[in-house]
Amino acid sequence: MFNLIIFLSLLILGYVFGRMAESRHFKSILNREEQLRDILTFNERTLPPGYEQASGELVGGNVVISIDYFKQISAGLRNLFGGRVSAYETLIERARREAILRMKQEARLKGASKIINVRLETASISKGGQDQIGSVEVYAYGTALIPTP
């Protein structure tokens, strides 16, 4: 009985705070994406025209995002039936967009206007004892092109 109460309260806590954190995060991502819209990212390796004399520098951004308890349970239930695991979809989407934003911010600090050869790398960390994804790390990196005056 006591265990059930703990379980349910964790579930409710996870649901409430997880949702809050997620909507707040998405809002801030949209906001910052708008601000950093002028820094263009490409995943091709060739230099865009007009940037042959620019100087290039490696930039990167990473983020570790954790899943909440409610989603962990709901994803576990989803495993029984199969299909889309939207809980993890949004988690990884948030992580990717955040990592790209941090990379762009670093590029902005260096005065760059374009980032080429962007690569994204995902690693699930803290797999823990139970075989489940607790948190996911995304690292985005690329070569920032700083136009020479």
């Binding site: 705070f17 995002i65 954790s66 909440d68 690569r119 960390i125 948190s135 070569t143």
Partner: protein
Amino acid sequence: MDEYLIIRNYIVIFHEVKYKIHEGVDTVILTNIEAVPGKKIVQHLGMVQGNTVRSKHAGKDILAGIKNIFGGELTGYTELLTEAREEAVARMSQQAEAIGANAVINIRFSTSSVAAGAAELFAYGTAVVLE
């Protein structure tokens, strides 16, 4: 579970002994494309690499466990991995400088979990001499 903790503590101690903040080599130019824009490559010196194995300490682990209930960013881990990646890159550029290169091109990063609770961060690229 116990061996897991012992191993992890061992890694932490090992790491703390070995760990010193590497002075990044500022003179080495880093890119992840096959060229350095605006510069000409005169000589290729082969692959250079840098790695580091990191483990989070128990305090951060507990905090992360709590965060696993509420969801959200694990800033402790983010910082840890940023730092670790910087170190891997610093080691790579030191190696490049040691063989007389002044740039590293085509850099790739890779992460692998060596043991539970520890991650290896690995950076590699081609050392080149620029004009």
